[in-house]
Symmetry: C3
Subunit: 355 residues, 3 copies
Amino acid sequence: MIGRTGFVGDLIYSLGVSGFIYPIIGHWAWGPDGFLALMGSDGHFLPSLGVGFHDFAGSTVVHTIGGFVALAGAIVLGPRLGRTFKRDGGGPMLPHDLTIAASGGLLLWFGWYGFNPGSTLSAMDFQGIGRVAANTTLAACAAGLTALAYAYGLNKKWDVSFTVNGFLAGLVAITCPCYWVTPTGAILLGGVAGVVVVLGVELLEWLRIDDPIGAVPVHGICGIWGTLSLGLFASGQFGASGPISPDNSAALKGLFYGGGFQLLKAQAIGSFLITTATFAVSMVLMYLVHVIGLLRVSKEGELYGLDLHEHGINAYPEYVISSLYASGGSPGHTVASPAVLSERGVIKRQVAAVD
Amino acid sequence: MIGRTGFVGDLIYSLGVSGFIYPIIGHWAWGPDGFLALMGSDGHFLPSLGVGFHDFAGSTVVHTIGGFVALAGAIVLGPRLGRTFKRDGGGPMLPHDLTIAASGGLLLWFGWYGFNPGSTLSAMDFQGIGRVAANTTLAACAAGLTALAYAYGLNKKWDVSFTVNGFLAGLVAITCPCYWVTPTGAILLGGVAGVVVVLGVELLEWLRIDDPIGAVPVHGICGIWGTLSLGLFASGQFGASGPISPDNSAALKGLFYGGGFQLLKAQAIGSFLITTATFAVSMVLMYLVHVIGLLRVSKEGELYGLDLHEHGINAYPEYVISSLYASGGSPGHTVASPAVLSERGVIKRQVAAVD
Amino acid sequence: MIGRTGFVGDLIYSLGVSGFIYPIIGHWAWGPDGFLALMGSDGHFLPSLGVGFHDFAGSTVVHTIGGFVALAGAIVLGPRLGRTFKRDGGGPMLPHDLTIAASGGLLLWFGWYGFNPGSTLSAMDFQGIGRVAANTTLAACAAGLTALAYAYGLNKKWDVSFTVNGFLAGLVAITCPCYWVTPTGAILLGGVAGVVVVLGVELLEWLRIDDPIGAVPVHGICGIWGTLSLGLFASGQFGASGPISPDNSAALKGLFYGGGFQLLKAQAIGSFLITTATFAVSMVLMYLVHVIGLLRVSKEGELYGLDLHEHGINAYPEYVISSLYASGGSPGHTVASPAVLSERGVIKRQVAAVD
């Protein structure tokens, strides 16, 4: 949704997302009486299933929900000005600053060590915390490497942005199963995520949906993959964490470890219900914000740049200074003069015109 | 003090601040026999008060001291060349790079999770650590939002730098009361901090004191507010941390929770004594460094830029390369040539000339 | 090895380093049956020595190995195009972006708090964890300050890059002895590391080896210093960590604390064997990758820039936009046009031409 969303629109739909979508739909899976958490037990939803929906740190509850809110936003917004798609002879626009993007991706990776191991919710389950941290690392590495390799196969370049989105995809995927899989499982399911994310980017490109940073493939699609992967890779050794020590009496076992389709079915049902519910509600929410005219900035504002138009200041001052001189600026010129800033619009339009 | 302080002067006053001001004045509040820590008990300072000065992780001991050292420095230094103030028809200069500034602010926020929860000083007080971390998060979010909204009311723009200083203000404010307040208290006192920091920036502007990054409002003024806020919001449920478990037998209770003015008075006395002592000593220290000619760089050095003048290298190489070409530089030109670098001075002067 | 290594070569030698050098040579010191770990005990290597090789978190096992792999790579690669050395009238090239470099250095510093304290390997050895964290901080600060001061003495400028490499050198040095030294020892051995790293940079310059970021002095040479320093500064108070509490019955004692040369000898033998073995194997590995033509990019690729040549995208877009305008680019020009990008090559060559 980057590059074209108005800031007030951002604030309004965020109220809807944080105030209603996350707490209500998330409660289905994480609430003590959530119908997906209790699913499969007597007297609750689908008692014949025999097992509930599991999402350790939120591949679905956090990431799929976020990814499908972003998908709804991208669809309602439409593509950025000047954005054309591969099957129309175009392709993605150039990123602003990959050095900052890669640094931010690595900081996110680091943050996951609070997110996943911290979701153990017991400081005394040392083994569980350690296993989650190790699985998180392995899945991210595997996914970064497979995304790098797979994107090279497609485009014949060693792509930084696909590598960053690759390890993020691995992190998203391991978020659900991190407590219940072995290191081997983490590497395998992470490696798959690195391919899934590249395919997801290609799919959105083909669907002519403009998702500049790949939020939908990374969080939405790999969130689904991670959630399903528990049904495949749960090793049958690990159950639930507890205040003093883990309780492995009801260990989760997936298809590849001889557990049959039971857990995979529970994961598929939970993922499907949360994904479709989120997407439906988000489409309504985004259309409402769009109808009142606050979702997308004006054409002038978009060409001018959201930093200047919405926040009154430039995020990359060197662009302005460059164009100041290029336009024959004399020392009497000030940086904020409209002539200079409209030059900047020219730069932006040019960048937008690339391939 | 940014943009005009000499590096050797920096080193010298830092010796005074780290070697004398922090250890001595900080000891009043945090030393086992500090007179503010013991205040209110029999045989010590103000025994009739009945309660001592409390500063959990240092709103006063760390932040107010730091903020008032910076205030003394800014006063003694005087404003940067070309800096004019709002009531003289001017206003703040443009920042160099808000992308880096916002990233740095978020890293600081992250660091607070070591600072505040770590100040519990007991790895076994799980509840205290969790409460402190949650309160820290809520105060920062509330302050960021109120600063954003209040600054929008003033300037009609969604200001990034006020938002960053807003959440930092919330973090500074919650640093003192983080152990003793409820989540609701944290949101309320953080929200107030977000407004206080904007008012503080306006106050310094009106006083014609040039504090480019807002160190005084964020650390100095919101440190005072956070310290006082304990006297208002202490919930009466929490006392002190202990090696094995917390000891809540002497829980702190503030004005809004029925505890009367007692704790508020203790906080006001402690904050006032530390603030005035720090400011007085810092003014002397800064004047001494100024008198020996090391506090402020020369006029030429300031226009040239401190990165080049003090450290011999440019912090933003793209500016130099831009001006290299703008000045008709041929491949025979080298980046370090004086002609190019004086161009850079021109750019700086221009930036300085903006409102 | 920065600025001239091909990405495929990077991948290939990394397989050798991560798959063979680290696990095999590292096992000598950290494996339960490693011959350096068991050295000095009956029936093992050098039983008369009476003490084994110690490397708490890896000054040798992690850093010296990494530094000497980098040394082999730099020797086999040869210097970057246009790089001349001080004794030929030249000197180091300008860095790209010191703001990003210093930020990255500080993030590395932060990461060390996971690395060193985490190597205690017991969450219950609270004292050991705390001591390691405090020693790590003190060594880094001391080394940053001595490197700053010593480099000022040499070049008469307060150098940011030497300061960053200084504190990193202190971190590398304290990595081996962090569990066994006192805070005073940490300050002293860190302070020495800050000088050693500057001397190491000068040594490589004199040897005409182009190591753009100082990987060899920081990791290789200061890894050796840190490993030896344990033989000097081990205080005789601390032995080994344990699952419930530390076991100090066999405390390590260095030369300066009355322990004689015994431990220093063990450290020197271990450091020498690992360093020479690593360097010999790495030279063979790098030559092999070089012989198949994958270690160094083509001359054109190097002038063009590795970001564009190897990864198909520019890491610093503002350079391109600057040169776009400088070349009289009209709005019809696209950023990716060869004319513009070859301008960028010109810029790079120019930068390379600066002493």
